[in-house]
Every structure is written in structure tokens, then in C-alpha cells.
């Protein structure tokens, strides 16, 4: 499919992410892609070893992304769930299947530049087979009006000897009301890395993220890193859960949150549990301001305290590459 009309505003909202947006349009770039404009599929393009299927439903779509066995793709599969309207409901039911021995990245962009009462829901299932190396990155932009209500839920099954990296970024624009829940089940010898970053910028922003890893297989390992900034009345709650339910599994949860301005609230709730005597699970959490030493270091380069704080926020919320 090519020569597809896709809302300019959505594409422009992705320009800040250091990506060439043209690569994501059907007929351009090398990667597989699926573009959703509100509840209509505007473009879908497969590549060898990647099958995309989508079906429109009343308020959204049901979509399958299948990475075939042994497929190794260099270009990420791009999913764009854009809404160029102020209001409405968009519901996505994705099912992502990564077959054994596959190596792939899926990059999803959820962009709602005009959101002002818009509801976006996702209910996703991920099945990652054995010996896979799979990265799922989801970057959100909810406009500047704190007008989105976003509630994604994801269940991820990670097979034996597989590496799964999950990245979620909500660091630009204003989040609005966000409630996210991810459950990851890690099988034998699998490795889970989960990075969550969010920025609540005003009293109209409330972000609640629950990221859970259940280490169900022997030697499974995981690290959850949750970083957030709340300023000018914004509220962020990071709930990082790791359960060590198998022999010699090893998990760690790390939450660091910065509070700026009056009325802002950051909450971190690391929850860890181990039921196997050979397992090891740990957590650390820090909330508050940036260390004075960091500010001093940047101010010694001629920055004001405010500029130094901005730089530290930029560093903390930088997307992993």
C-alpha cells in the first residue's frame, strides 16, 4: 500500500523524536508498518518474515503482528496509533507474536496532538518464543492540553532463553490522565529489561504505572527501571513489582522520581516477593530533588540552577537508544 494520506499533525508530532518520519509511511523505508488514524487503518505494509493483520472494529482495531520463526529484522516494525481529534474513543487490541529464534524490534508511537477529552485504551498480548531477542518500545505524545485519558494494559509471556526489552516513554507534552498496567512472565533463562519514564507537568496530569515481572523460570533475570518527574502539581505513581518464583532467579526494581514545584506528588511503590530460597530480588527507590552535587557541577559550567535542573530532567528522561 502506498500514497496514503496520513494526518500531518500526527507525523509532525513525531518529529521531535529524532526519527525520520517518512520512513514510517507506507511506500517508504524498509520496515513493516501499520498506521492507524483514529479507528481507521490507513496503511499496512509487511516485509519478509513479518506478517501484519488488522481488522477495524467499532471503536478501534484488532491487530496481529507476527515475527516468523528465525526472522532477524534490522528495521523496526512501526506501529502508529494516531488520533488527530480532540475527543473520541480509540481501542486497540494488539497481539504480538514473536516465534522462536527471532530477533526484532517493534516501535510504537501513540500520538494524540489535539487530545482534549480523548480516550485511548489498549489491551495487548505478547507471546515471545524461545531464544528470541525482542524489543518493544512505546513512545507517547498526548498533546499540550492534559486532555488525554490513556489506559493501556499489556500481558507479556517471555519464552526460554529469550531477551525482552520493554521501553515506555511519556516524557514530552502533557500526559493527562494515564493508567498503565504491564505484566511480564519470564520463563527459564530469560532476561527482562523494562524501562519506564514519565513526566507529569501540571495539576491536570496524573500518571500511574504498574510494571510487574513474574520470574517463573529457573535463572530468569529482570531489571525494572522506573524514572519520573512531577512538577507544578503533577502526580506520578510508579508501582514496580517483581516476584521471584523459581530457583536461582534474580530481579531488581529501581524507582527514582524527582519532585519540582508546589503541589507535585511522586510516589514509588516497589513491591518484591520471593518464594524460592535460591532466588534473589531487590529494590531501591529515591524521591525528592536532584542531588546538590549534580546541580553544582552543572552550575560550575555557567548554568543557573533552573537551567541545570532542566538539563538533569533531560538526562533522566532521555529515551534509551
Amino acid at each position: 500500500m502506498s500514497n496514503v494520506e496520513y494526518p500531518r499533525e500526527i507525523l509532525e508530532s513525531l518529529e521531535d523524536y529524532n526519527i525520520d518520519i517518512r520512513d514510517f509511511l507506507p511506500g517508504h523505508g524498509k520496515g513493516a508498518k501499520l498506521l492507524l488514524d483514529f479507528n481507521k487503518i490507513r496503511g499496512m505494509e509487511d516485509v519478509d518474515g513479518v506478517i501484519l493483520k488488522g481488522r477495524e472494529i467499532e471503536n478501534g482495531i484488532i491487530a496481529d503482528v507476527i515475527i516468523k520463526e528465525g526472522t532477524k529484522i534490522e528495521e523496526p516494525v512501526h506501529l502508529c496509533f494516531g488520533v488527530n481529534k480532540e475527543t473520541g474513543i480509540q481501542e486497540i487490541f494488539p497481539r504480538i507474536i514473536v516465534e522462536d529464534n527471532a530477533d526484532a524490534t517493534v516501535q510504537a508511537h501513540c500520538s494524540f496532538p489535539k487530545a482534549n477529552g480523548l480516550i485511548h485504551k489498549m489491551f495487548g498480548h505478547f507471546y515471545i518464543g524461545k531464544n528470541c531477542n525482542f524489543t518493544y518500545s512505546e513512545t507517547h505524545y498526548h498533546g499540550e492540553n492534559s486532555g488525554a485519558l490513556v489506559a493501556p494494559v499489556g500481558y507479556v509471556y517471555v519464552g526460554e532463553n529469550s531477551v525482552f526489552e520493554n521501553n515506555f516513554y511519556l516524557t514530552r507534552g502533557t500526559p493527562g490522565k494515564v493508567k498503565i498496567m504491564i505484566d511480564i512472565y519470564a520463563m527459564k533463562n530469560s532476561v527482562i529489561k523494562s524501562n519506564i519514564k514519565a513526566f507529569g507537568k501540571s495539576k491536570n496530569d496524573s500518571v500511574r504505572i504498574r510494571d510487574s515481572v513474574f520470574l517463573e523460570g529457573e535463572n530468569a533475570r529482570s531489571v525494572i527501571k522506573m524514572k519520573a518527574v512531577a512538577k507544578d502539581g503533577g502526580e506520578v505513581l510508579m508501582f514496580g513489582i517483581t516476584e521471584g518464583n523459581a530457583p536461582r532467579c534474580n530481579g531488581h526494581v529501581e524507582c527514582s522520581e524527582i519532585v519540582l514545584g508546589k503541589g507535585s506528588i511522586c510516589r514509588a511503590r516497589p513491591f518484591i516477593r520471593a518464594i524460592d530460597p535460591t532466588s534473589s530480588v531487590s529494590h531501591e527507590a529515591s524521591l525528592g530533588r536532584f542531588p546538590q552535587k549534580w546541580l553544582d557541577e552543572l552550575q560550575a559550567k555557567g548554568l543557573t540552577e533552573e537551567e541545570a535542573t532542566q538539563i538533569l530532567i533531560e538526562a533522566m528522561l532521555q529515551e534509551e537508544r
Partner: protein, 265 residues
């Protein structure tokens, strides 16, 4: 004189005792001036006070930079006058790219990239390897120190305070750092080198000996180091190390005299 520290007294936070006691010395523009002294003598306190950190306010004394009283200026104001500090253990501000970090103090925004590359070259980091790197856990302590130094040099300050630049580095790397200090000096920047290592101090033109919060002597560096060794009773060490540019700096009779003055045989 570029920097003048006059009767500087820094009390502890509870004001019960002093860390620096009426310290005075002058730093000549274009020189490398070492501040030496054993652990706990107040060297880092002096560095932070000159830089203007919040918790390091003098109870007495003045600091002049290029003739201007900067005692009551804050850290940003001092940096904008041309003073900066490369930290003993720079924080690892994960997530920033190395060029972004180095760019923070660069004033000439039009030639940013060239300035960053130049700064990387000065500290012997290959631009092709470091222009695309992020500050993260994969950067070694030595690399992190060089990046910190590059960021300081990129500011083109008039005075760089180097707080224990040698800490945690092995001998081969220290030799390289000494060459870097000379390169920085050739770029018309003045270096205030805080160190407790006599060998790295040998790169200095002048020095000041801090001893339990007192500035005992300010002079040409070999003489300052000789006094340091005499205070510490390290005569043989002194004779083994007082070399500069391939020659012995001070004659043996002079060494004997200084040791006698300090009550050492």
C-alpha cells in the same frame, strides 16, 4: 595576578572549628599552580570555596579574581566570569550524550560541533569514538574524568580548578594527564591543581602547601614540595622525586637546611 585569596577562613558547618585558617596566596595568570598537602589539610574545601559552592562560605577573608572581589558571588556568577572546576569524582549524569554534556558551557553556539571536537582532542579522546556516545555505566572512571575535563576546557575559562584529577588513575594515565595540563596551559588557561601527589604536582610552576588548614608557603613548586617533604619527614623520598625536566630541582645542601628548619635530620 589572576586569583588572590586573602585571609580566607572557612569554619565547619557547626562553626566550632576551622577547616581553613586565614589562608592567603596568589595565582599568576597563565601558570599551573598546585595546592598540595596531606589528606584532610583543606585542599578540596579551598577548591569548593573558590568555586562558590553554597556550603562553603568564608567567615573571614576575601577572594579576588582579576582584581574583582568575588567573595559574595554565587557559583554561576563565578563560572560566567571564567572560573570552573573539574570535579574529583564527577557525577555520572546518565542519559546525556557526551557532546551535549561538553556543549553545556560553550558560549560560541555557532561553532559548537568544532568546539566539542577540539575539546575532545585536547583530553586525548578520539572524537570519532566519543561524539556518538552517551554518558552511562559503560564509561570508565578515567574516561569520565576526561569528559569532565573536556567540558571544563570547552568553556574556555580563564581559571580551571582541577580537584584531585589523578585520583583513581593508574600511572600510565597520570603521565598522559600531565601532558594534557601542559596543553591546557598553552591555551592561555590558568590551572589551580589540587593534589596530594607530589609527582603530579611537578607539572606545576608554583605551589602552595596547605597543612592542617594553614597555608605554610607559596613559592616555586619544587621549593613548596621540599617544604612538604620536610614537614612529613620524607628526606629520601624527597631526594628521589625532586626532578623536573630531567634535572634535579634543588641542591642537596638546600634540602638539608630545610629539613633542619623543620626539626628533621
Amino acid at each position: 595576578m589572576l586569583l588572590e585569596v586573602k585571609n580566607l577562613t572557612i569554619p565547619t558547618l557547626d562553626q566550632k572549628c576551622v577547616i581553613l585558617n586565614k589562608v592567603s596566596f596568589k595565582v599568576k595568570e597563565g601558570s599551573i599552580h598546585a595546592i598540595i598537602g596531606p589528606n584532610g589539610s583543606g585542599k578540596s574545601t579551598l577548591a569548593y570555596t573558590i568555586m562558590g559552592l553554597d556550603n562553603y562560605k568564608p567567615s573571614e577573608g576575601k577572594i579576588y579574581f582579576d582584581g574583582k572581589d568575588i567573595t559574595n558571588m554565587n557559583i554561576t556568577e563565578r563560572a560566567n566570569l571564567g572560573i570552573t572546576l573539574a570535579w574529583q569524582e564527577p557525577a555520572r549524569i546518565d542519559g546525556l550524550s557526551i557532546p551535549r554534556y561538553i556543549s553545556l558551557g560553550i558560549k560560541d553556539k555557532a561553532n559548537m560541533k568544532e568546539e566539542i571536537i577540539e575539546a575532545l582532542k585536547i583530553v586525548n579522546l578520539e572524537p570519532e569514538r566519543y561524539m556518538n556516545r552517551i554518558i552511562d555505566e559503560f564509561l570508565s572512571g578515567g574516561e569520565r574524568k576526561r569528559v569532565e575535563l573536556a567540558a571544563a576546557v570547552a568553556m574556555k575559562p580563564r581559571l580551571i580548578i582541577l580537584d584531585e584529577p589523578d585520583s583513581g588513575l593508574d600511572m600510565i594515565v597520570i603521565e598522559d594527564f600531565m601532558n594534557i595540563f601542559n596543553k591546557i596551559k598553552e591555551l592561555d588557561m590558568t590551572i589551580l591543581l589540587i593534589t596530594h601527589r607530589e609527582d603530579i604536582g611537578m607539572v606545576a610552576d608554583y605551589g602552595t602547601l596547605l597543612w592542617r588548614g594553614d597555608a605554610l608557603i607559596t613559592d616555586e613548586f619544587p621549593k613548596v614540595m621540599l617544604r612538604y617533604c620536610a614537614k612529613a619527614g620524607l628526606k629520601e623520598f624527597c631526594k628521589r622525586t625532586l626532578f623536573k625536566n630531567g634535572g634535579f630541582c634543588v641542591d642537596e645542601d638546600y634540602i638539608d637546611r630545610i629539613f633542619r628548619e623543620e626539626g628533621q635530620s
